[in-house]
């Protein structure tokens, strides 16, 4: 096989061809987690696990992020399985909603909050502010959640300053 086109960029190794996240590792981790969550009556079927794995890929693409290893979903599942608002019926859908929220918020706080803290604060907000509705967070409360996390982590000043700067910039331009 000989490529005659010198500009064949596809022949160069690029980051999109490199496998960083491991969907098999994610699926295995979720299967393994079923053992722990079973004591709360929560269980993911193979079909649900496959669907969640696809959702992670989609959420990453939408939020312009790249994930490594088995990723954050097993951590989210482990944290949220103890919530009183989680039932066997809403468990899989909740994880799917949360993965989108997680990446959106992680980007909004400019990666200044660790995964562990972000998942903990997300659960706190979910239970105490959103009263167990991930839909409410995803559709209405993302900005509030971001402010809540920034305030809890003491980084609110930075984002207010950024907002102020961008407003001043807009004013100057107008």
């Amino acid at each position: 096989m000989h490529f005659k086109n010198s500009n064949d960029r596809n022949s160069l190794i690029n980051i999109n061809q490199i496998k960083l996240s491991d969907s098999n590792a994610l699926k295995n981790a979720l299967v393994e987690l079923n053992g722990t969550t079973a004591e709360y009556g929560l269980f993911l079927t193979v079909k649900q696990i496959n669907r969640l794995s696809d959702a992670v890929g989609k959420a990453l693409r939408e939020s312009d992020r790249i994930e490594i290893g088995s990723g954050i979903l097993p951590v989210i599942a482990e944290e949220f399985c103890t919530s009183v608002f989680v039932t066997r019926e809403n468990y899989a859908q909740l994880l799917e909603d949360l993965i989108y929220i997680f990446f959106q918020v992680k980007t909004a706080v400019c990666d200044r909050v660790s995964d562990k803290d972000l998942v903990r604060l997300l659960k706190d907000y979910y239970e105490n502010k959103a009263m167990g509705s991930a839909e409410v967070i995803g559709e209405r409360d993302i900005d509030l959640l971001v402010k809540y996390i920034e305030m809890e982590k003491g980084i609110l000043g930075d984002s207010l300053a950024d907002a102020y700067d961008s407003e001043s910039y807009t004013d100057e331009r107008t």
Partner: protein
């Protein structure tokens, strides 16, 4: 698929089609990727090895990303991941630059795993940082004794601060750093630490050229240039070496042995040169510079500066690029 016997140097090998590496497809600013891709095209790198290279790069990149986040995040923004990826590639390039030929470099890729290439690249980068430190000392020792703010600021912290902040793991490629003071010749399109190395080498050559002349003469020439161009003494607004070099070239054209170009010389030269078309003017300047120095760097500088000189000459602004007048 042809077998590659280790005992025979790769440069003597031909692939199944009788072809060897096509150098036109190999790009120094993207060396590892273009060389491995060309190696694959010519079937020296098997598909299996190529997939292995991608997997190994993925492994190193994952480790670097995890380390970058302090092991506190399992994801990063795509831009961040891309920066780390480019930095990794830069490091691989640095390892391969140590080989004398593309064939030797490709052989190294084939016979080693990417992790080894990466480790070698890290060592080469560290070595390059040390080289830059000694080049900085040398550049400082040859520093031109003239109080230009921008020129002196590069020695008084600017370069050192760049070296201190230089990030060889996650941002080794850097962006091309623009210092307050530019060397006349470019840095060959290099990035990261190689860019700094080339910059320092350029400065040393420029300093050495200027230091051949008497210190007071240089100072007076620069003061005169500032005065003529209505500039503060400490803000000459041009590369000192370029002024000295072009003064020497025009002095040579006027038949003077030093740096002095008097008003009468400038007028005479201007009148003569304007009689010929611009390309000829440029050629005359360049050929005259060959009498001034046979250093390739100096000759390259004159080629770069000749265009400006021709423009200045035809716009009656020769005083913008050289000092015209008596050097006290």
């Amino acid at each position: 698929m042809p077998m590659i016997p280790k005992a025979i140097p790769m440069k003597e090998l031909k692939n199944y089609y009788g072809n060897s590496l096509n150098y036109d497809y190999i790009n120094f600013s993207d060396y590892f990727r273009s060389l491995s891709a060309e190696g694959r095209r010519q079937t020296f790198v098997t598909d299996k090895k190529f997939v292995g290279i991608k997997d190994e790069i993925g492994g190193i990149l994952s480790d670097l990303i995890a380390e970058y986040t302090g092991y506190e995040s399992t994801s990063v923004m795509k831009d961040t991941a891309n920066d780390i990826f480019v930095s990794l590639l830069y490091c691989l390039d640095m390892a391969l630059f140590t080989f004398a030929s593309h064939e030797d470099a490709l052989e190294y890729i084939i016979e080693n795993n990417v992790d080894e290439v990466y480790k070698k690249g890290q060592k080469v980068i560290k070595q390059c940082v040390f080289e830059c430190i000694s080049l900085l000392v040398k550049a400082k020792n040859t520093r031109i004794n003239y109080p230009d703010r921008k020129y002196n600021s590069i020695f008084e912290g600017e370069i050192l601060s760049y070296l201190k902040k230089y990030e060889s793991k996650y941002f080794a490629h850097g962006t091309k750093r623009v210092f307050s003071y530019n060397s006349v010749n470019g840095c060959g399109g290099y990035r990261g630490i190689l860019h700094l190395k080339r910059y320092l080498e350029n400065l040393i050559i420029e300093n050495s050229f200027v230091n051949v002349f008497d210190e007071n003469t240089i100072q007076n020439l620069c003061y005169g240039y500032c005065e003529n161009n209505d500039r503060e003494y400490n803000d000459i607004g041009a590369n000192i070496y370029s002024i000295v070099l072009m003064n020497r070239v025009f002095a040579e054209m006027a038949g003077n042995s030093g740096l002095e170009v008097l008003k009468t010389d400038a007028l005479k030269l201007s009148k003569l040169l304007k009689k010929v078309p611009e390309p000829e003017q440029r050629r005359l300047i360049i050929s005259c510079a060959e009498n001034v120095s046979n250093d390739p760097y100096v000759n390259k500088s004159v080629i770069r500066l000749a265009g400006h000189a021709v423009n200045a000459l035809n716009g009656d602004n020769l005083g913008n690029i050289i000092y015209i007048g008596e050097i006290k």
